[in-house]
Amino acid sequence: MEGKESNKQVIDMSCVRDIVSKFADRDDPNLISVLQQAQDEYGYLPKSVLKEISSVMDIPLTRIFGVVTFYSQFTLTPRGRHSIKVCSGTACHVKGAEGVKQKLRDELQINEGETTPDYQFTLETVACIGTCFLAPVMMVDERYYGKLTADKTSDIVGTYSNKKLGSE
């Protein structure tokens, strides 16, 4: 992990500059958009990247930390390849989202907010993803899945684990 991180750092910083420069000629050098793109790039927001953003954008690091910790989308630790967002909104709650959550915890052996040791999956809860009509639902990366049952949930997780084996 250590070696990888320092190895990456060289490339990292030029990426950060590219991202920031996209916003440079605008009257609002938007910090949140920069952070979102940086996170898309690296999967999370390493401290070194935040420091670089701070110096290139001339924004105090404390302010950047304030923003990063305020929004649930940002993360300071590496995430899994796939993000699983399971809905705990009202409609899903009424329709048994708890069972789906429990199945995911069992299947992945992690709790909400955690990442599997092999960095394949990060499990999160979200308060509604606007698919309440098919409750209970979850989202894997940018794909929605509805009318979940415990069995269906583990099948879906299975297809993502298999993909990993197939593609690598």
Binding site: I32, Y71, C132, A135
Partner: protein, 545 residues
């Protein structure tokens, strides 16, 4: 590549060309490709396209991808027109039969039809879910390809904008919106024309317009459906508003959990730019305006307008005291007009048909229609549009088909975490802004979650408290501490460890939090608890040992 429109005449010519282009005797297969993707709509759509091609049916059949068609419970859904057949739970395997039987021979496939009390109803016009609704704002949703602006223009899209730009002075537009009685659909119900008037009158060289597409209420999906199914309606509404108030720049703040909505909106903005409907000298009118998408980063409180502004500015999304209202000092301290997605989507219609036409829908307190997101323990979960003043019973039973599993209706939760539960005794309440308030709920943005007899209301109150407690931004004490303490009490009660005084304490804390919090989140956070105590006190008492 779309051709730039230099004048209103160009738009009219384009509309005629589009009408001509879509006038055909082909059978159209409309496949919902938005929310229904959660149950495999993409595969169904792909299979239709493949089969039509391999069977050489291209000049007989046209497959159209659409937004939400409403009856989402039956996902993946599709309609075949002519003759207007609705099919649900369609799978890849059923595609060959649909083509050979229904499309080519006109035969109905019973197992794919919507059924009510065991009776199959193949035609949309006969399905109560559809024929009891009035699709006004949703007229295009589920019928056009949201990624093809030619569909929108063929159905009179941007005609309202043209009227606004060429036939009305900005004050005239505002007057028209005021007369229409349109009120904000984002929850507050503030008169839209009045708000526009404030921003118009504010003196500044720079003004902004913002569309609130944060849709944070759990159980709400109206804004998602509009953005996915008819994004140009929102773009057109925003351009009109911008012209009326004198803004040249706009933002749409969309939550990150809505990737399809962002995608369709990007399409729409791109097409509008190509058509010279966004950019400099729009339709040759001399008016300049452009739009940008801002993706939210996951914070419920950012739906509150001042927090949303802070978030667009790249800061922590914390609300600030009002006044000054955004109309006077908003984005980067400039006058800013913020409206909800559905509010903007109403504007093109009012511009096109006039305010008198618009007022035929709805009640005195609320004109027009309202879109509801029907979810929870109800048969036909989905997207419903009815005139204001429709009763809850009509929505839940006539349109929604009632409660599944022969259970009893217990309550409908309206307005999300700032709303309340409406019990069975108020089922005949005509829903508009005022009447809903009287029973301790709020109209809110339109999320309607039906709960059956098995639902524990105290547990639902606890659930909402947990939600607001987590989402409280922490800036002010009454909300930060009040929600935490109320959650503790509710958790204790649900676990059966409560005592009599708890109910009284809850009520007291609820009132303090309501009265002393800075923003709408804290001010409304106690509503679910108060409404539950009001209507379901017995359930609390039963939990006390």
């Amino acid at each position: 590549m779309l051709k730039s429109l230099k004048s209103n005449d160009d738009l009219v010519a384009m509309k005629e060309a589009c009408e001509e282009k879509f006038k055909s005797d082909k059978v159209r297969v409309y496949v919902c490709m938005t929310g229904c993707r959660a149950l495999g709509a993409e595969e169904v759509y792909g299979e239709f396209q493949k089969q039509v091609k391999t069977q050489g049916l291209e000049d007989k059949v046209e497959v159209v991808e659409t937004g939400c068609q409403g009856l989402c419970a039956k996902a993946p859904v599709m309609t075949i027109d002519p003759p207007g057949i609705f099919y649900g739970r369609v799978s890849v395997d059923s595609v060959p039969e649909i083509i050979s039987s229904t499309i080519l021979k006109g035969e109905v496939i019973n197992k794919l039809c919507y059924a009510e009390s065991g009776k199959k109803i193949p035609y949309m016009k006969d399905i109560p879910f559809y024929n009891r609704q009035q699709k006004v704002v949703l007229r295009n949703c589920g019928v056009i390809d949201p990624k093809n602006v030619e569909h929108y223009i063929a159905r009179k899209g941007y005609e309202g904008l043209a009227r606004a730009l060429f036939h009305l002075p900005p004050e005239g537009i505002i007057k028209e919106i005021e007369n229409s009685g349109l009120r904000g659909r984002g929850g507050g119900g503030f008169p839209t024309g009045t708000k526009w008037g404030f921003v118009r009158k504010a003196k500044s060289d720079i003004k902004y317009i913002v569309c609130n597409a944060d849709e944070g209420d759990p159980g709400a999906f109206m804004d998602r459906a509009i953005l996915e199914g008819d994004p140009h309606a929102v773009v057109e509404g925003m351009i009109t508003a911008a012209f009326a108030i004198g803004a040249n720049k706009g933002f749409v703040y969309v939550r990150a959990e809505y990737p399809i909505a962002v995608d369709h909106l990007e399409f729409a903005i791109h097409q509008a730019r190509q058509l010279n409907l966004l950019g400099d000298n729009i339709l040759g009118s001399g008016f300049n305006f452009d739009l940008e998408i801002k993706k939210g980063a996951g914070a419920f409180v950012c739906g509150e307008e001042t927090a949303l502004i802070a978030s667009i500015e790249g800061k922590r999304g914390m609300p600030r005291p009002r006044p000054p209202f955004p109309a006077i000092s908003g984005l980067w301290q400039k006058p800013t007009n913020i409206n909800n997605v559905e509010t903007f989507a109403n504007v093109p219609l009012i511009m096109q048909h006039g305010s008198e036409w618009y007022k035929q829908f709805g009640t005195k307190n609320g004109s027009g229609t309202k879109i509801f997101a029907l979810a929870g323990n109800v048969k036909n979960t989905g997207l419903v549009e009815v005139p204001m003043g429709t009763t809850l019973r009509e929505i839940v039973f006539d349109i929604g088909g009632g409660i599944p599993g022969r259970r009893q209706f217990k309550a409908a939760q309206m307005g999300g975490p700032s709303g309340g539960c409406v019990p069975a005794e108020h089922l005949d309440l005509p829903i508009d802004y005022e009447s809903v308030k009287e029973v301790g709920a709020i109209m809110g943005s339109g999320g309607l979650i039906v709960m059956d007899e098995k639902t524990s209301m105290v547990e639902i109150a606890r659930y909402f408290m947990e939600f607001v407690q987590e989402e409280s931004c922490g800036k002010c004490g009454p909300c930060r501490i009040g929600t935490k303490r109320m959650l503790e009490v509710l958790t204790r009660l649900v676990a059966g460890n409560g005592c009599r005084e708890d109910i009284e304490d809850l009520t007291k804390m609820a009132h303090v939090t309501k009265n002393a919090s800075l923003c709408g989140l804290g001010q409304t956070a106690p509503n679910p608890v108060l409404s539950t105590i009001r209507f379901f006190l017995k359930e609390f008492e039963e939990l006390i040992p």
